[in-house]
């Protein structure tokens, strides 16, 4: 960019965003970010501002945008309550490694520390949940700090960065504005090269494995190494399991796909974790929801952990070989060292586990008006690449388990924080990327009501998102926990709900309710064929529980297929 002379700080912020390739900002105005809005006004062609209806919506939309686009998502809000309303989404992005830059307005510098109107210490309270944050108090810092913010957010293990910018910094005049992208920070090493030794050790283990298993996590999608994953799996004849956020790294129909690991994952993936001899885990962090009882996790296996964040290696599970690297570089180095092999009986074992799950759980779920059935029908009726944006609760597990991810599809959901209300705004963000033919947002009746106000943004901007409400009139996942661990004492689980179709209708969004199994398919078809936003409320079975499940405190291979197991 050419240098600019005598511009305001606010103008500098806008120009910096444009330089970083930002085309969409999700935001909400207030007294302390109005100068930036005024600058946006003159840059309407280059930057689109999307007015969400609550700041939590802005940050989730930025997350959805970032996840769908593999680019940094941006949200911008005012100081005080605007800033505090962001916190949930920032924590969400931190746990799920989502690159976002959050810009908060702040009171003028001379008022800092005086409890001025709408002053909050956002840098202080966001410190534990950001990858980096910084308060800009003079306009001259804007160029270098914003360049740094974008670099930190997207490089290495991505994450949220927050910039708090005082109002006087937004109005000061910068004599000479010069923008250089940041490519290096002395104290920050986002992309470590994998050590030769570790690569060789990993390859040796894999070549000698009899029962190898790969688990792919979010890191595979973040580093874009889906092709390498597939190639390795083929070469080694190695089954591939996935974490919740790793889904869609490999298409479900791949004959070596073992399913999802973890609490409500697939039977095969969990059983095989405790039966394999070499476990190759890529870009995942062994969260407690994935590993069940840590002392009984894959003790029989030599674990290879490929991970970009050194502090994750050995944090929970000590691997035999730790490869500190981004997933793509590591796999590219390992692949040439791999000998072609075949593991027929091991893969047969996988199919037996899968068959067992189908017979005891899946087939039944698909024969009734249950969450899994709805998701499966959506999956069958979709046309072209689809982003499945799933909320939290039983609806999320059903989405993960029953959507048939094909090449080009993607899951976007809140994994680490499990944030109810994530899906609707995240779907808005995903819709803006235009990376998918369809954006399907799958929610429960509880989560929908947490960010229901964002229907306003869908209405105003005419976003063609498909909204699927799996309504069981329950906080279903809570009811399931009360079933399993609290003698079915359903306390506050059942909700009195409004007429959702009427509400959505009032927003001018096409809405329909399904109450029978027969009506489901045609309704889903209507929704997928409709040009524009569409809302489908499905009255699913009220008392359904998600199975299989790893009971609390149990090992992954102690998974229960049915309540009577």
């Amino acid at each position: 960019m050419e240098n600019k002379f005598n511009i305001t700080g606010a103008e500098a912020i806008t120009l910096a965003l444009i330089e970083e390739g930002v085309d969409t900002v999700f935001g909400y105005p207030g007294g302390n970010n109005l100068p930036v809005y005024d600058s946006f006004y003159t840059h309407e062609k280059e930057i689109r501002h999307v007015l969400v209806r609550h700041e939590q919506g802005a940050v989730h939309a930025a997350e959805g945008y970032a996840s769908a686009n593999r680019k940094v998502g941006v949200c911008m809000v005012t100081s005080g309550p605007g800033a505090t309303n962001l916190l949930t989404g920032i924590a969400d992005a931190q746990l799920d490694s989502i690159p976002i830059v959050c810009i908060t307005g702040q009171v003028v510098k001379p008022q800092l520390g005086y409890d001025a109107f709408q002053e909050t210490d956002v840098v202080g309270f966001s410190m534990p949940v950001t990858k980096w944050n910084y308060q800009i108090t003079t306009a001259s810092e804007i160029a270098s700090v914003m360049a740094k913010a974008f670099y930190i957010a997207r490089s290495g293990r991505p994450g949220p960065v927050l910039l708090d910018i005082t109002k006087d910094a937004q109005t000061q005049i910068i004599e000479k504005f010069e923008y250089k992208k940041c490519t290096k920070i002395r104290s920050y090493h986002p992309k470590l090269k994998p050590s030769e030794t570790a690569i060789n050790e990993a390859a040796t283990l894999l070549n000698n494995a009899q029962r190898p298993l790969m688990i792919v996590g979010h890191g595979v999608l973040l580093s874009g190494c889906q092709d390498e994953v597939k190639e390795l799996s083929e070469k080694l004849d190695m089954p591939v399991a996935s974490t919740l956020l790793g889904l869609s790294s490999i298409e479900n129909e791949n004959p070596r796909f073992a399913g999802m690991v973890g609490l409500h994952g697939n039977y095969a993936a969990n059983m095989m974790t405790n039966r394999c001899d070499v476990l190759l885990s890529i870009g995942m962090r062994f969260s407690d929801r994935v590993i069940g009882k840590p002392e009984k996790y894959a003790n029989q296996a030599a674990i290879i952990h490929i991970e970009i964040d050194p502090s994750e290696v050995g944090k929970i599970i000590s691997p035999a070989v730790g490869v500190v690297s981004d997933a793509k570089s590591a796999l590219q180095k390992i692949l040439p060292l791999i000998r072609k092999s075949s593991h027929i009986s091991w893969l047969n074992q996988m199919r037996e586990f899968q068959q067992k799950e189908n017979e005891t759980v899946v087939n039944e779920n698909l024969s009734k008006l249950r969450m899994g059935k709805v998701v499966r029908v959506v999956s069958e009726k979709k046309k072209g690449s689809t982003a499945v944006v799933a909320d939290v609760g039983q609806n999320q597990m059903a989405s993960a388990r029953y959507f048939n991810f094909q090449e080009g599809d993607s899951i976007i959901t809140s994994g680490g924080l499990g944030t109810m209300g994530f899906a609707l705004p995240a779907a808005i963000g995903a819709a803006y990327t235009k990376k998918f033919k369809n954006v399907v947002c799958i929610m429960g009746d509880g989560g929908f009501q947490m960010t229901i106000e964002e229907l306003g943004a869908i209405m105003q901007y005419k976003l063609p998102v498909k909204l699927v409400l799996l309504n069981n009139n329950y906080l279903g996942m809570i009811r399931q926990l009360q079933d399993l661990y609290y003698n079915s004492h359903y306390y506050f689980g059942e909700m009195q709900n409004p007429d959702f179709v009427k509400i959505v209708d009032a927003y001018g969004i096409k809405a329909e309710r399904v109450e029978t199994l027969e009506a489901l398919s045609p309704a889903v078809e209507r929704m997928m064929d409709y040009d524009g936003a569409y809302f489908l409320e499905v009255r699913v079975e009220k008392q359904e529980n998600i199975y299989p499940v790893i009971p609390a405190g149990k090992a992954v291979d102690e998974m229960l297929l049915t309540p009577n197991d």
């Binding site: 840098v123 090269k193 674990i303 502090s311 070989v321």
Partner: protein
């Protein structure tokens, strides 16, 4: 997870950082989240201009120490975080004692000699002395002065330098050579 007492050791954590606002907070959050008590913490500019040095003393298990150090090193503005067991550091504390002059004057001469004290101020009602030494010595003197009435006591906590030679200077050179950063990651032993 209850940590077994016999595994708990005293560690001196030495953290080198850029000169940036808020870093103390970021570093202590790592300790707080893991319920690690900080026994003492000092900070000052290091031997390299513009690079700050934090010396933090804590007690914990070797596993927890490693994880906490990894988390500290992960902070964007931290250059390196090293940790050492007691035998690998030379440390001193500086303590100031303000004592009432009512009873002290006669035994003071002996104490000054025995403890190598420096007199900083003598007034009609009180005397202020300085002691530099190990924690043990500082506390021993405290006990000896107690009967005479300690009006005020203040102590720096441990400042330490480490015995092993390879440290930040080398590290910075490595950086410049863009040498294999992954060397810093311990090579993981084959399990089987």
């Amino acid at each position: 997870m209850k940590e077994k007492d016999e595994n708990i050791k005293q560690y001196t954590v030495v953290v080198f950082t850029e000169d940036k606002v808020g870093l103390l907070n970021r570093i202590t959050i790592v300790f707080t989240r893991r319920h690690l008590n900080i026994d003492s913490l000092t900070t000052s500019e290091s031997e390299i201009k513009g690079i700050f040095r934090y010396t933090i003393v804590t007690k914990t298990t070797p596993e927890m120490m490693k994880k906490a150090a990894d988390q500290i090193e992960k902070l964007t503005e931290v250059l390196r975080a090293f940790y050492y067991e007691a035998q690998d550091v030379v440390s001193q504390e500086l303590a100031l004692y303000k004592i009432s002059t009512a009873n002290i004057l006669t035994p003071m001469e002996g104490l000054i000699r025995d403890f190598n004290l420096r007199i900083l101020d003598i007034e009609k009602e009180f005397i202020i002395v300085e002691k530099t030494g190990s924690r043990k010595e500082v506390l021993k003197l405290f006990e000896q002065l107690k009967p005479y009435g300690i009006l005020q006591f203040a102590c720096t906590g441990q400042v330490a330098v480490t015995k092993p030679m390879k440290e930040l200077e080398n590290y910075l050179q490595e950086l410049n050579k863009a040498a294999e950063m992954s060397n810093k990651i311990r090579s993981w032993k084959l399990k089987n």
